[in-house]
């Protein structure tokens, strides 16, 4: 008999879009009136699939729809999906922060999640007082914390400051102390959301390390949410893929990752400019394709993908140039590439198709493409921000491209000679 520790049955979550105002109150009253008469909630029947790029017909969307899954004791389940697929909503429901609109989840053990690092820390209180407070918020009893307090303090490396208010701490010390508390939780089910840990490479490393420890000890169940396919593959035994609030795949982790890479929903991979521009040099098309000339939204560092551009030059322009820029999710520029970098600029009139191999030195994450054409040192002719988006995933370096600091990840060959 299978030892199921968590069972999700038909969970759905509906959100109302727009602002809370008089309309909300009218809906609330109507809902209440239906309830009084013993009828079904009228607003549960409506609602669109959660696809943010299309304009919906209703104010209600389903962030999750009919999610069913089971987790066995000791299993490490990877939950993967693009931004907006419903991963965070699912996690919120699993960690009991918000309730599902319909359905139920049954738990066979205590749940804790690593995303709550530092929750409820009070700046005025000392490190020691905060360990107790934070521990209690995370569900530990005072006795449990007391028995572990020395270990927690040692692990945090903040011994010297432990009786100083945490508002005097450096941000690094703050995180260390917060993580130390979380690290000594002993739940039967641990939820790790890597997405929320982005930005602090050290913390991410620690969180994943902690997860490995837990899985090695055995018996502990982990739900792991990540964008890092390499880490997911390495750690998880099984995976579910979410897409627009629905489970589109459930099964072995390798198949799940493949299914995720091949699916495409969120990013624009094709951009066409249909209305003509009165500029003398302009873009008409941009897309991201793989080597089989298919449109893709997920770019892996294992396979070569290309940026395809179509441009029109009306007349010969002196020093005219086309360029594109890659920016990351934080809108930081990663690099700008110009047509004159390694080839000659287009010097004659006509329509052109351009193929540019995408570089493989990015860190895993989401990126956007800006297009621009200008006359060098003189004027900008056209500028289109965020026309395309793609997700860059790492399948070669075991998650290193995400865990190391830096804006890019460039593998270099070290020539080592013994002397």
């Amino acid at each position: 008999m299978k030892d199921i520790i968590l069972k999700a049955e038909n969970i759905s979550k509906q959100y109302r879009l727009g602002q809370v105002g008089t309309g909300t109150m009218a809906h609330d009253l109507n809902r209440w009136w239906h309830q009084v008469r013993g009828k079904e909630d009228p607003y549960l029947k409506i609602g669109d699939t959660n696809d943010r790029s299309t304009k919906g017909t209703s104010d209600y969307v389903w962030a999750l729809q009919n999610i069913n899954f089971e987790v066995e004791r000791g299993e490490i389940l990877g939950i993967i999906g693009k931004n907006g697929a419903g991963k965070s909503t699912l996690l919120k429901i699993l960690s009991r922060v918000t309730a599902p609109t319909t359905g139920s989840i049954k738990f066979g053990g205590r749940v804790a999640s690593l995303l709550e690092v530092g929750t409820g820390f009070n700046g005025e209180m000392t490190g020691r007082e905060n360990i107790y407070l934070n521990g209690a918020i995370l569900g530990m009893t005072k006795k449990e914390i007391k028995s572990k307090i020395d270990e927690i303090i040692e692990f945090s490396g903040c011994e010297r400051y432990i009786d100083t208010p945490v508002k005097r701490y450096s941000s690094g010390m703050y995180v260390r102390l917060a993580f130390a508390v979380a690290a000594f939780l002993e739940p039967e089910i641990l939820i790790v959301d890597e997405v929320l840990a982005v930005g602090d490479a050290e913390f991410q490393k620690k969180a994943i390390g902690k997860m490995k420890d837990i899985s090695n000890q055995g018996g502990r169940t982990v739900l792991f949410v990540s964008h890092n396919m390499a880490a997911v593959k390495q750690l998880c035994t099984r995976g579910i893929v979410l897409e627009n609030g629905k489970v589109v795949f459930e099964g072995g982790i390798t198949e799940a990752v493949d299914s995720y890479i091949n699916s495409n929903q969120i990013f624009e991979s094709i951009w066409n400019k249909l209305t003509p521009n009165n500029s003398i040099a302009y873009f008409t098309h941009a897309s991201i394709i793989n080597s089989e000339n298919k449109y893709v939204q997920v770019v892996s560092n294992r396979k070569q993908c290309f940026l395809k551009l179509k441009v029109v030059v009306e007349a010969k322009v002196f020093d005219g140039t086309f360029a594109f820029e890659i920016v990351n999710q934080m809108d930081q520029s990663i690099f700008v590439s110009h047509d004159f970098d390694m080839s000659d600029s287009i010097r004659e009139a006509g329509c052109f198709e351009i193929l540019i191999p995408l570089p493989k030195f990015l860190r895993a994450g989401n990126y956007f493409v800006n297009l621009g054409s200008n006359i060098r040192g003189f004027t900008t002719l056209e500028y289109f921000p965020n026309v395309l988006g793609f997700e860059y995933i790492d399948e070669l370096y075991g998650g290193q491209t995400q865990s190391r600091p830096g804006t890019v990840f460039i593998p270099l060959k070290w020539e080592i000679n013994k002397i």
């Binding site: 008999m1 299978k2 030892d3 199921i4 520790i5 069972k7 959100y15 809370v20 909300t24 109150m25 609330d28 004791r73 919120k92 429901i93 960690s95 009991r96 922060v97 918000t98 309730a99 599902p100 609109t101 319909t102 359905g103 139920s104 989840i105 049954k106 738990f107 066979g108 053990g109 205590r110 749940v111 999640s113 995303l115 709550e116 929750t119 409820g120 009070n122 005025e124 209180m125 007082e129 107790y132 407070l133 209690a136 918020i137 995370l138 569900g139 009893t141 005072k142 208010p165 039967e188 018996g219």
Partner: protein, 289 residues
């Protein structure tokens, strides 16, 4: 933990869309009792950190309010407090009234002030309003102590004040005041998550309510001076608590068993409705706050 203990039929807990109609999961609250105490400690310890006078602020506020009331209402407006020194009369009312407002305003902001924590981790939400009521009880204790000091002073000055057998029931009266503030606060906190209008209401609502609650005048006086509107005070459960406080501690005013019974019923009702609404809100307030 034994592996065979968890089969498909035994679950530790279950998440469902809505709570049952009425749940006050005392077992769970008991599991989190340490958290309750730590919240109380946090509330008490942190409020006056980095202040010079520290906990003395707890005393300054009721003392100065009483002095002001004595000057305005007794010396200027000439409200007669009978044989009781007006300052003591006001201090008794204000001390108890303060406990109520502290509970009410504290708990009415439960969801708003704790959205950060509530949005990240689960614990029984009712722990927060409960901790507010308990930590305010400590503050009340300090303020009551200062009342006792002045009581002693006036007593030895020979003022006509005294206690009676009902004084023994004073703690029950305070519990009732706390529960009433808690219930009303939970009710309002739930409404505020969706409709912010109520947080505006509470600010001046509490102030207006004070004038209806016989804090700075005896109940008998309002009936005598304002026969047409006096009934408003008579239907205010808080007025009975304040009036009874003075009866118990200063042996002045009336003891209305009917009034106290009415207050008791209102308290139970408000508390139950508060818990009910709070229960319905806590599960998904994070989506609307």
């Amino acid at each position: 933990m034994n592996h065979s203990e968890h089969t498909n039929t035994t679950w530790l807990f279950e998440i469902t869309p809505k709570n049952k109609f009425f749940t006050l999961n005392l077992k769970e609250v008991w599991q989190y009792r340490d958290l309750l105490l730590l919240f109380v400690k946090r509330d008490v310890v942190t409020v006056y950190k980095q202040t010079v006078l520290g906990p003395l602020w707890y005393l300054i506020q009721p003392l100065f309010t009483s002095i002001t009331f004595t000057i305005i209402f007794n010396n200027v407006a000439g409200i007669d407090t009978g044989t009781v020194p007006p300052f003591l009369f006001n201090l008794a009312g204000i001390t108890v009234w303060n406990y109520f407002t502290a509970c009410l305003t504290g708990t009415s902001n439960t969801f708003g002030a704790n959205a950060g924590i509530f949005g990240k981790v689960y614990f029984p939400r009712i722990i927060v309003p409960l901790s507010i009521v308990v930590s305010n009880l400590l503050k009340f204790g300090i303020q009551f102590f200062i009342f006792i000091c002045f009581y002693g002073y006036y007593y030895f000055q020979g003022a006509a004040i005294g206690m009676n057998v009902t004084t023994l029931f004073f703690p029950l009266l305070i519990v009732m005041m706390g529960v009433l503030g808690l219930g009303l606060g939970m009710f309002i906190s739930s409404l505020v998550t969706k409709y912010r209008d109520f947080s505006n209401l509470i600010g001046f609502g509490v102030q207006l309510l004070m004038y209806l609650s016989a804090v700075m005048y005896p109940m008998a006086l309002i009936k005598e001076k304002l026969p047409t509107y006096g009934w408003l005070v008579e239907y205010n459960p808080l007025a009975y608590v304040i009036e009874t406080t003075r009866y118990m501690l200063l042996d002045v005013g009336q003891l209305s068993i009917y009034g106290l019974g009415f207050t008791f019923l209102v308290t139970i009702f408000v508390f139950l409705v508060g818990v009910l609404i709070f229960n319905r809100t806590e599960k998904s307030f994070i989506d609307t706050v």
